[in-house]
């Protein structure tokens, strides 16, 4: 542990990911849940970068770039959905959105 290694990156990644997951599980506000998902995606990037650094590879960075691209796309669509939801149901409370049952 004395020298910086991928293990550090992985621990940080795990911590961020699990914080994000707990947020998704516990929060009721769709917007916050959305931010937590971004957090989780970011955590994945951290581990990818860590491996890339340790192994002198560029593949990890390339993958992280794709994850960022997909996260951006997800942000656009997800926020669009949030807009549509608030217009129709006038709420951002995930517990009020039960249309999935129908």
């Amino acid at each position: 542990m004395s020298e910086l290694s991928a293990t550090h990156f992985l621990l940080l990644s795990a911590a961020l990911f699990i914080i994000g997951m707990v947020g998704v599980l516990t929060r009721r506000n769709v917007l916050v849940i959305f931010m937590c998902i971004e957090l989780m995606l970011n955590a994945v990037n951290v581990s990818l970068i860590g491996f890339a650094w340790e192994l002198h590879q560029l593949t990890g960075q390339v993958f992280a770039l794709f994850v960022i691209a997909i996260a951006a796309a997800e942000a656009v669509v997800g926020l669009g959905i949030v807009m549509a939801l608030t217009r129709r149901a006038d709420t951002v409370d995930i517990d009020e959105l039960r249309q999935l049952r129908e």
Partner: protein, 633 residues
């Protein structure tokens, strides 16, 4: 001698193509021009048949054309091959010739029918099926087209399917035929298991190796098919009802196709029947009984087409009698002549119907001779030929059958045939006199009966010439042209020495009997010296027996159809609805109720779904740690 040629295929192909074209394009394109295809196609087929028959009958050459192998499964090979020998050549001439005339006649008869194109699709299809049936070289192909003929008859009898009676008649024809076909199929299967092949030649060569019991079973099963198709005694009930179809169809079914298939099949399979005297005897008895029973029924009918229909059954009985006593050539000879005069009778009664605006009851006709001389004279020729009046066609062939039956060891059956001949003359001339003589029993000012148009008249005349002259093909008896022509096919058949005195004696007897029938009909329906009603009353139960068709329909309805119907209803109500549907619906209901239970898992709350995903992740990672990593090892 045998020759392989490649033009035989046009004989079945021409009608088939016409049928397909009319079927596919008839409704929206061909419509009223349907006969432009069908009639030339069948005519062409007839010309090709004539060419084939010329070679076969003239030079006694076997023509054959292999088409393709239909089934090839190990040892079991079913090639589709067209073979023309002398028997097939004669049949081809009859089938295509009469069919051609019927087609021509139909142009006039079916004019203005909304289903015109449909009629000219089924009619060539019928011809195609029948032609293939006679051209087949093995029992399986024969069976396939045997069934195809049944299908076509169903389609054509039920041609006016909107009429309930026509639909019923078509169904009846199909179902009754199915009973016979069931036996036929069983016979073919038995044949295959015993012999291992279905090729005619190979089967016939293998017959002597089989036990007599097996051969008898096979022969009887095959004959069951013929009983159904050729309307023999227990299964003849469909044929009179087949009158519901258009008259040209009746003519086609009765004269050229369908009913002759059974006779042809027995003649084709004669080596099998020859090997079993018992089967032959049964064929003869059924034939004789059929001819007599049907003749008595015909005497009591008032529907002109029914009279002719029962007459067909009766004539088919003669043919079966001939087959049964081993008189193969007379049977085919009678089939040949019968085709002409029966087609003539049907087309003639069709012309009468046409003139009378679809009136079928002879009690409402009479005196038509005045307005329809051509129809009258052609019909008289047909009736006389059917009645066996010398020297018309029916006389020669029928007489020969009676002589063969007499010398073939069944004089009793010959006498039964003679009795049937009496009734034949009686009902034929009864029909002619009721229809054409006496005073009109309808209003001549409302109906204006007239001779039919040319398309219908020409076939009548041609057929009348045929009915008058084809008998001479079999003169002198046992040594005529047709006997020499067919000899190679039936060379294994037994020959009887017939004395001249017997031939002459039976000829005179049958002529006398026929004239007796004619005279009684004349007395009863023209001169009025004999009251038919009084005779009917005097005969009492016998008359009622005949008038009700010997109660065959009644018995079938009560003891076969109704119990079957009840059983089927029971099966439907209890087994199908109760058990089968119950099982299906029950399992569906179980699934549905279980699903109702599981449905509660679906809360619709995204948070719960996310929770489940997280739980799954935890479990999976835990499983990896336990089983996949080195952590616990």
């Amino acid at each position: 001698m045998e020759r392989t040629v490649d033009w035989l295929v046009v004989i079945p192909l021409a009608p088939l193509l016409a049928a397909i074209a009319n079927f596919l394009f008839g409704k929206w394109w061909i419509r009223d021009r349907a006969h432009w295809l069908a009639v030339p196609a069948v005519g062409f087929s007839f010309l090709a048949s004539v060419a084939a028959a010329w070679t076969v009958l003239g030079h006694h050459q076997l023509l054959r054309q292999p088409l393709y192998t239909w089934i090839s499964a190990g040892e079991f090979q079913v090639p589709v091959e067209l073979v023309i020998d002398e028997l097939t050549a004669i049949m081809l001439l009859v089938v295509t010739g009469v069919s051609f005339l019927v087609h021509v006649y139909s142009i006039g008869y079916m004019h203005h029918d909304p289903g015109y194109y449909r009629f000219f699709a089924w009619l060539p299809l019928f011809v195609f099926s029948m032609v293939m049936l006679v051209l087949a070289s093995n029992f399986l192909v024969l069976f396939v087209f045997w069934e195809a003929v049944g299908l076509c008859s169903y389609l054509l009898i039920g041609f006016w399917f909107r009429r309930r009676s026509a639909a019923e008649a078509a169904k009846k024809a199909f179902v009754v035929n199915r009973i016979g076909d069931f036996g036929f199929a069983l016979g073919i299967m038995l044949l295959f298991t015993k012999v291992g092949t279905l090729e005619y030649q190979a089967v016939f060569e293998a017959i002597p190796r089989l036990s007599s019991g097996t051969v008898t079973t096979i022969a009887l099963l095959l004959f069951t098919g013929a009983i159904g198709k050729s309307a023999q005694l227990p299964l003849f009930v469909w044929l009179p009802d087949a009158m519901e179809g258009p008259t040209p169809v009746s003519a086609l079914i009765h004269a050229a196709t369908m009913v002759t298939a059974g006779i042809f099949m027995v003649a084709r399979a004669h080596p099998i029947f020859l090997a079993s005297p018992l089967a032959l005897w049964i064929v003869a008895v059924i034939g004789a009984l059929t001819s007599f029973v049907a003749a008595t029924i015909a005497t009591t009918q008032f529907d002109i087409k029914r009279v002719v229909a029962y007459s067909t059954v009766s004539q088919l009985g003669y043919m079966a009698l001939a087959l049964g006593v081993g008189a193969w050539i007379p049977a085919i000879f009678h089939l040949f002549t019968h085709a002409f005069f029966k087609a003539l009778l049907f087309l003639g009664s069709g012309a009468v119907m046409h003139a009378m605006h679809d009136e079928l009851d002879m009690r409402r006709m009479g005196g038509l001779k005045r307005w329809m001389p051509l129809t009258y004279w052609t019909l008289v020729i047909g009736a006389a030929a059917n009645a066996g009046i010398a020297p018309l066609a029916g006389f020669w062939s029928k007489d020969e059958i009676l002589v063969s039956a007499w010398v073939g060891g069944a004089p009793l059956l010959a006498l039964l045939g003679l009795a049937a001949a009496f009734f034949t003359a009686l009902y034929m001339f009864r029909a002619v006199f009721l229809t054409f003589h006496g005073q009109p029993r309808f209003d001549p000012h409302q109906l204006h009966p007239h001779d039919p148009p040319a398309t219908m008249a020409v076939p009548l005349v041609v057929l009348a010439i045929g009915a008058a002259t084809t008998g001479f093909l079999g003169v002198p008896p046992e040594a005529g042209w047709i006997h020499h022509a067919l000899e190679p096919v039936f060379e294994s058949a037994a020959h009887h020495e017939v004395t001249l005195s017997l031939t002459l004696g039976l000829a005179i007897a049958s002529t006398l009997v026929a004239f007796a029938g004619l005279w009684i009909a004349y007395a009863a329906y023209v001169r009025g010296t004999l009251s038919p009603a009084a005779v009917a009353a005097r005969l009492g139960p016998f008359y009622r027996l005949a008038a009700n068709g010997w109660y065959f329909d009644f018995i079938y309805q009560r003891y076969v159809v109704r119990p079957l119907d009840a059983a089927a209803t029971w099966l439907w109500r209890s087994v199908d609805v109760g058990i089968i549907d119950g099982a299906v619906n029950g399992s569906a209901r179980i699934v549905a109720s279980t699903a109702q239970l599981w449905r509660r898992l679906q809360t619709g709350l995204v948070a719960n779904y996310a929770l489940m995903i997280a739980l799954g992740t935890v479990v999976l990672v835990g499983a990896y740690l336990v089983f996949g990593s080195t952590l616990f090892r």
